[in-house]
C-alpha cells in the first residue's frame, strides 16, 4: 500500500475508475492540461486522452447540464467544480434536474454522475474560496452528499460514488488536500456510502464531525483526554443518506453531544443532527446538544482562523457538555 495525501488519493481514484470503465469522463474548468487548480486531475488527459478528460468553457451550468445529459445517455461523468463557492450557477441543474430526473420520469431516466468540488476554509480564500455549502445540498432529496476526511476514504468513497446509480456531490476538504497522509490500497475498492466511521472510542462525550473538522476534533479529543474526558468521535462521511441509526446509537452511548462543522450554524447540517437526536433519543441526553460551527456571517479572509472552529472551541464545548 502506498502512502498518499488526500489529494493524491483523489487522483488515484479517478485514474482507477477511468482504467476500469471506459465510460468514465472527467471534465470541468482547467482540469485538462493544467491538471486542475489543485492538481487533482493531473495526468488524466495524458493517460486517457482529451476526449475523456477535458476543459470546459467557464460555465458551471454548462458543466453540470452537459454532465446530466451524458449520464442520461450512458456515460459516467465526473464533473469538477473548481471551488464549491462557484457551484451556485449550477444550482438549478443540480437541485431541479439531476436530483429529480429519476423521480419525475418514473425511473425511465437516471443521472448516475459525480460532482467533485473542494470546499472549506483554511487557505485564506475569503468569502468565495472557503465556503462549506453541504447543507444546501443535503436538503435536496435525490442527491447524495459525501465528504471524506482521510486518503483511504477519499479513494474508496469516490470510487463508490462513481459506481453509484444516483447523482453524488463529492465535497473534498481542501484544507486537508496536502495536510493528511495515509495508506491507500492499490486498485479498486469501495467504502460504503451511508455508513459512518468511528474515529475514536470514548464514553463521556460524543462528537459528530466530517471533512476538515475531523482532525480538529481529534486534536481536541487528545486535549480532553488529558483532562480526563473520553471522547467518542464520529466521522459522518456520507451526510445524505445519513446513517441515522448510527448517529442515534453514538449519541446514546454518552448522552452528551457536540456537533461540529465549518459552515454557518443557522439551518446548517448540525441542526439536523441535533434534531434527529432530539427526536429519537432525547431521554438519553444529559446535557444540551452543543454546536460548534462557523459563525452566521460570510467567510472572512484575514481573520479566517477566528471564524473556523478550532481545537479551543471544540474542547470548550466538550467540557461544557461534559460538566453540565
Amino acid at each position: 500500500m502506498a502512502t498518499l495525501t488526500l489529494l493524491q488519493a483523489v487522483n488515484d481514484a479517478l485514474k482507477t475508475a477511468m482504467r476500469d470503465d471506459p465510460s468514465v469522463v472527467v471534465f470541468g474548468e482547467d482540469v485538462g492540461p493544467k491538471g486542475g487548480v489543485f492538481l487533482a486531475t493531473e495526468g488524466l488527459t495524458k493517460e486517457f486522452g482529451a476526449n475523456r478528460c477535458f476543459d470546459t468553457p467557464l460555465s458551471e451550468d454548462g458543466i453540470i447540464g452537459t454532465g446530466i445529459g451524458m449520464a442520461l445517455n450512458g456515460l459516467k461523468p465526473v464533473c469538477e467544480i473548481q471551488f464549491q463557492d462557484f457551484i451556485f450557477p449550477a444550482f438549478d441543474q443540480i437541485v431541479s434536474e439531476a436530483a429529480k430526473f429519476r423521480y419525475r420520469s418514473g425511473g425511465q431516466y437516471t443521472c448516475p454522475m459525480v460532482i467533485r468540488t473542494p470546499y472549506g476554509g483554511g487557505i485564506r480564500g475569503g468569502l468565495y474560496h472557503s465556503q462549506s455549502g453541504e447543507a444546501y445540498f443535503c436538503h435536496t432529496p435525490g442527491l447524495k452528499v459525501v465528504i471524506p476526511s482521510t486518503p483511504h476514504d477519499a479513494k474508496g468513497l469516490l470510487l463508490a460514488s462513481i459506481d453509484d446509480p444516483d447523482p453524488v456531490l463529492f465535497l473534498e476538504p481542501k484544507a486537508l488536500y496536502r495536510q493528511v497522509k495515509g495508506e491507500v490500497p492499490e486498485g479498486k475498492y469501495k467504502v460504503d456510502l451511508s455508513t459512518l466511521r468511528t474515529v475514536r472510542e470514548g464514553r463521556n462525550v460524543t462528537v459528530f464531525c466530517y471533512g476538515a473538522m475531523v482532525p480538529v476534533c481529534e486534536r481536541a479529543a487528545v486535549q480532553a483526554a488529558e483532562k480526563g474526558i473520553e471522547t467518542l468521535i464520529v466521522d459522518l462521511r456520507t451526510l445524505l443518506p445519513l446513517d441515522e441509526e448510527g448517529v442515534i446509537e453514538a449519541a446514546k452511548q454518552t448522552g452528551r453531544v457536540v456537533v461540529v462543522h465549518e459552515a454557518p450554524r443557522f439551518c446548517g447540517f448540525g441542526g439536523e443532527i441535533s434534531a434527529i437526536i432530539a427526536e429519537n433519543a432525547i431521554e438519553y441526553m444529559e446535557a444540551p446538544i452543543a454546536r460548534v460551527t462557523g459563525f452566521d456571517t460570510p467567510f472572512p479572509n484575514t481573520l479566517e482562523h477566528h471564524y473556523m472552529p478550532d481545537e479551543r472551541r471544540v474542547l470548550d464545548a466538550i467540557e461544557h457538555v461534559h460538566n453540565y
Binding site: 468553457p57 447540464g65 420520469s105 432529496p141 435525490g142
Partner: protein, 372 residues
C-alpha cells in the same frame, strides 16, 4: 438558408416553388394525420380541463407544423429533449395517445407515476422523448451532453432540443449553445418562436433581429424558417440533422409561428394579445396550409380530412376512457424512485404514512387548482 430571412416551402396556393419535397405519399399523409391527431389531442385536453376532469393543459394550436416537420427529420434512434408544448413530436413517432393521457390524468399507468403536472411527458420508446421539466431551458445543455456521449461512442445519432422564444433568455440556452459549438456536438436547437412567452412579446424578450441570429454568438449556423410550413421546417431540420450526423456540429433553427391560444388553461390571452394578431394568424393556420399543399398534389379533399378526423376522434375517445378509468398511483409511489434503492429515512417516512393512514384514515384531496 439565413438567420434573418424566412425560409418557406409551401406557397399560399399550395405549390412548392420547385422544392424537392422528397417524401412518399404515405409519409406526407403521416404528417397530415399527425397534424390532425395533435390538434384533436390538444382540443380534447382543453375540454377535459374545462370540465374539471384533468387539472391543467397547455394549448398546442398553431404550432403543430413545427413539431411535425421537425419530428419527421428524425430517426427512432435519435434523442428528443422536448418542451411541454411538444405533443406533436411524440405523436409523430408513435407514442400511443393513451400513454400521453395517462400523464394528463396523472394516473397509475402514467410513466411518471402521477408525479408531474400534465404535459410533462417522459417516454423511452418508440423514441427517446426525455422527461420534460418545468424549469425553462435546463434541457438544452443536457441535450448537448447526450450528444457528447453519442459522439464519443462514434454513433451516428443526434440529439434535438426544442424550446420557446422565452427559452432563449434562459441560462441553458447560453451554456447549451456555447458548449455544443465548442464541442461540435451532434445536436440541433429548435427554437419555436410563437411570439409570446406567456404574456411577454418578443420585443420584451430580446432586441436582436431574430432568434436565429443568436447563433452568431456561438459560431454555429442559424436558420429562420416558417414554422407554419411543415415542409420548410422539415427541410431546415434535415439539413441540420445531416450536418450533425456528419460531425459538422450544431445548428440553431428558429421556427417562426404563433400560439393560437392562451399560454395554458390558466391563462387568458385576451388580456395582452392584440385581437388583430389572432385574426391575422387564424388565416395562416398550419393545418390549412398543409391541406392546400396536399390538395395540389391530389392527396386531399374534405373526405380525407373527415376520415382522419374520425380516426383521431375514435382513437382519443378510447384513450380517454382508458386513462380516466385508471386509478391513482398507489401511495408507495411517493417514496420510490428518489434513489434506485430506498434509503432508510425515506422508507421510515413511508411506513409512518401507511401506519397513520391505518390508524387515522387517508389524507383527503384538497380543492387547490392550478392557477397558471
Amino acid at each position: 438558408m439565413a438567420a434573418t430571412q424566412l425560409l418557406t416551402v409551401i406557397e399560399p396556393d399550395g405549390g412548392v416553388n420547385g422544392h424537392d419535397v422528397g417524401m412518399t405519399n404515405d409519409e406526407l399523409l403521416h404528417c397530415y394525420r399527425t397534424l390532425l391527431r395533435t390538434r384533436a389531442f390538444d382540443d380534447t385536453c382543453m375540454k377535459l380541463q374545462r370540465s374539471g376532469r384533468i387539472g391543467f393543459s397547455i394549448p398546442n394550436k398553431g404550432v403543430e407544423a413545427t413539431q411535425v416537420g421537425a419530428a419527421s427529420a428524425l430517426q427512432k434512434t435519435d434523442w428528443l429533449f422536448p418542451s411541454y408544448r411538444d405533443f406533436g413530436m411524440a405523436l409523430y413517432h408513435g407514442v400511443p395517445m393513451a400513454d400521453m393521457l395517462h400523464n394528463m390524468f396523472g394516473n397509475a399507468l402514467d410513466s411518471a407515476k402521477g408525479r408531474q403536472m400534465p404535459v410533462h411527458f417522459s417516454f423511452v420508446e418508440p423514441i427517446k422523448f426525455v422527461s420534460i421539466s418545468s424549469p425553462i431551458g435546463t434541457h438544452l445543455p443536457q441535450a448537448v451532453g447526450a450528444a457528447y456521449a453519442m459522439k464519443l461512442r462514434g454513433e451516428k445519432t443526434v440529439a434535438v432540443t426544442s424550446f420557446g422564444d422565452g427559452g432563449t433568455s434562459s441560462l441553458g440556452f447560453h451554456s447549451g449553445l456555447n458548449f455544443a459549438a465548442v464541442w461540435k456536438s451532434p445536436v440541433v436547437f429548435l427554437c419555436q418562436n410563437n411570439q409570446w412567452a406567456i404574456s411577454c412579446p418578443s420585443s420584451g424578450q430580446t432586441a436582436s433581429e431574430s432568434y436565429a441570429i443568436k447563433a452568431k454568438a456561438y459560431g454555429m449556423p442559424g436558420v429562420l424558417v416558417d414554422g407554419n410550413d411543415v415542409l420548410a421546417v422539415r427541410k431546415a431540420m434535415l439539413e441540420a440533422v445531416d450536418r450533425a450526423r456528419k460531425g459538422l456540429g450544431p445548428t440553431l433553427i428558429e421556427a417562426f409561428t404563433f400560439r393560437m391560444a392562451g399560454h395554458s388553461t390558466s391563462d387568458d390571452p385576451t388580456r395582452y394579445v392584440p385581437k388583430e394578431q389572432f385574426a391575422e394568424w387564424e388565416k395562416k393556420d398550419p393545418v390549412l396550409r398543409f391541406e392546400k399543399f396536399l390538395a395540389k398534389k391530389k392527396l386531399w379533399n374534405e373526405d380525407v380530412r373527415a376520415k382522419y378526423t374520425d380516426e383521431a376522434t375514435a382513437e382519443i375517445h378510447l384513450a380517454v376512457q382508458l386513462a380516466e378509468g385508471t386509478p391513482r398511483p398507489g401511495i408507495e409511489t411517493i417514496f420510490s424512485d428518489v434513489y434506485r434503492d430506498v434509503p432508510a429515512h425515506i422508507r421510515k417516512q413511508g411506513e409512518a404514512a401507511f401506519d397513520l393512514a391505518a390508524r387515522k384514515g387517508d389524507a383527503s384531496a384538497g380543492d387547490g387548482k392550478f392557477p397558471l
